[in-house]
């Protein structure tokens, strides 16, 4: 329609920042102490990739699959939809990502043998998703109660998954990138529209993933000498 250009991101924001962060407080309170388990799962993923990637590669994808389905159901579908009806259309995408990760786990076990800059970007994103993102709430004066935790909230789950995917090699791996990338973009737009400084986090994750993936493609085509 001719008036489409007149719409801005603000026109699609249905809730206030206060409602948004109180939603995370309520979500954390409802699921505590499950955070300990999901954070332990995140650390387990880092250790597996660093030390025993060949033997336990399937487990990494399986853990992520469970967490994507869990976050899609418990956060997006059961909680976020109460203030954002559009989340009902996004939640199935989390189930799809979980399904793809399950397929990766059972049918196409990934290899975690990347080295060099792409691997380091992968580790940075993985570490940020698990250890960095939860710190943003207290650093911005909101307190720990509204922290976004890996495996509990979508942003750290998506960012850490992008890190894992940058570290992985396999036929299915490229198919797993679009959903976490799109979620990070959507989240960044939402946060930016609310005027939240941490909008940079998911945006930076997408930028780093794009840069690393571009580097990988260029190298595969032999345009650059091997690092």
């Amino acid at each position: 329609m001719s008036e489409c250009w007149t719409y801005r991101a603000e026109d699609f924001l249905l809730f206030s920042p206060r409602v948004y962060w109180r939603m995370f407080e309520a979500h954390n309170a409802a699921l505590w102490p499950l955070h300990v388990v999901t954070l332990a799962a995140g650390l387990f993923i880092i250790l597996l990739i660093a030390w025993r990637p060949g033997v336990f590669a399937r487990w990494i994808a399986l853990i992520l699959a469970v967490l994507w389905i869990f976050v899609g159901w418990f956060f997006l579908w059961s909680r976020y939809t109460t203030v954002n009806w559009a989340a009902a259309y996004v939640a199935p995408a989390f189930a799809v990502e979980g399904g793809l990760l399950l397929i990766l786990s059972f049918r196409d076990s990934p290899a975690f043998d990347r080295r060099g800059p792409v691997a380091w970007i992968g580790y940075i994103l993985l570490a940020f998703g698990i250890a960095g993102q939860p710190l943003l709430a207290p650093l911005q004066g909101r307190g720990w109660a509204s922290s976004e935790v890996f495996g509990i909230a979508p942003d750290p789950t998506a960012i850490a998954t992008l890190g894992v995917l940058l570290l992985a090699r396999g036929r299915l791996v490229p198919w797993l990138l679009p959903i976490p990338v799109l979620w990070c973009l959507l989240s960044s737009i939402t946060l930016r529209t609310m005027g939240e400084p941490q909008a940079w986090a998911p945006a930076a994750a997408v930028a780093l993933t794009a840069a690393a993936w571009t580097w990988t493609i260029i190298r595969q085509r032999g345009s650059l000498p091997a690092a």
Partner: protein, 305 residues
């Protein structure tokens, strides 16, 4: 309270006297001024309550109770019209929660919308909205943002004929599709039209407001503060000294008085999450209103800041 013949007569006389009072006199008594809905002459307090963003608080019990407090202050201050939409997330059930908590205030004028691209899904959506509110029927249902407007307007006119809704209308916002709004206002038997109008967005003055007056269509003004942008922009700036001449003590009141003083405006619907703000908004409908020269002065002053 037991009703005796004496109290009945006192109440009846007071009501009759109030009805005979001119608008400005009633406003001086601390109640918001009223304007008639042109199609029925039913009187409406000129400040209503919007729910966009502010009432979308999900299942949060603390925030739901805050919204109920806002509604309580609104009704205590003489307000009537609450406006919502299926588009506004959880706003409808939150309004319903507040109405139930307040014992279903009889003053309520319920203004809802139908918002679906499916022509056939309109009646089911309106019924779902009615259940959220917990009202027997809506006073007003509007076609939201002109989405599938032909089919929905037909449905609403049928509902009005059947007595399941009292008034019908259309809405737009932020200056969109004014040509189509004008066309509908000219050709369809609508009671209400809703659009954006404020101290800096004045496109409606050119055609829509005069047409509403000419056609006898009630006007609901949305986004009176541009979704808080204007109040945020002005909050650290001093009010002009001449604002006191029209009984204004805040920017919000000044900007509301600008809107409410347009003779074609029936009601403005600022949204808020705070009790003190709803009281402040209602107080803008009390006391003297700016004349044409002062209106121009308000607009020029705000735009210059």
């Amino acid at each position: 309270m037991r009703t005796t013949r004496r109290t009945f007569l006192q109440t009846s006389l007071a009501t009759a006297a109030a009805a005979l009072l001119p608008t400005s006199l009633r406003a001086q008594q601390g109640q918001p001024a009223r304007r008639p809905i042109p199609s029925t002459r039913e009187e409406m307090p000129i400040v209503g309550l919007g729910t966009w963003i502010t009432f979308n608080v999900g299942n949060d019990p603390v925030l739901r109770n805050e919204c109920a407090d806002v509604m309580a202050a609104f009704f205590e201050g003489g307000g009537r019209m609450i406006d919502s939409s299926p588009m506004y997330g959880s706003s409808q059930p939150v309004v319903g929660y507040g109405l139930q908590k307040l014992g279903r205030p009889p003053a309520l004028f319920s203004a809802e919308k139908v918002w679906t691209s499916s022509a056939t899904a309109g009646p089911a959506q309106i019924e779902q909205s009615r259940r959220f509110w917990g009202v027997p029927k809506f006073d007003l249902v509007q076609v939201h943002n002109l989405l599938a407007w032909k089919a929905h307007l037909q449905t609403l006119l049928q509902m009005k004929a059947a007595g399941t809704v009292r008034y019908v209308g259309i809405t737009t916002s932020e200056g969109r599709r004014h040509d189509l709004v004008e066309q509908i206002m000219r050709n369809e038997p609508i009671d209400f039209v809703q659009f954006s109008y404020n101290v800096v967005d004045r496109e409606a003055e050119a055609r829509l407001l005069p047409l509403a007056a000419e056609r006898g269509i009630a006007v609901i003004v949305n986004r009176p503060f541009r979704q808080g942008q204007l109040t945020n922009r002005l909050k650290n700036k001093p009010l002009p000294e001449w604002a006191a001449e029209i009984g204004v003590s805040s920017w919000a009141q000044l900007m509301l008085k600008f809107i409410l003083s347009h003779p074609a405006v029936t009601v403005a619907i600022p949204a808020t999450t705070r009790v003190e703000h709803v009281r402040e908004n209602l107080s803008a409908a009390v006391g003297p209103m700016p004349d044409l020269a002062t209106r121009q002065r308000i607009s020029a002053h705000v735009q210059a800041l």
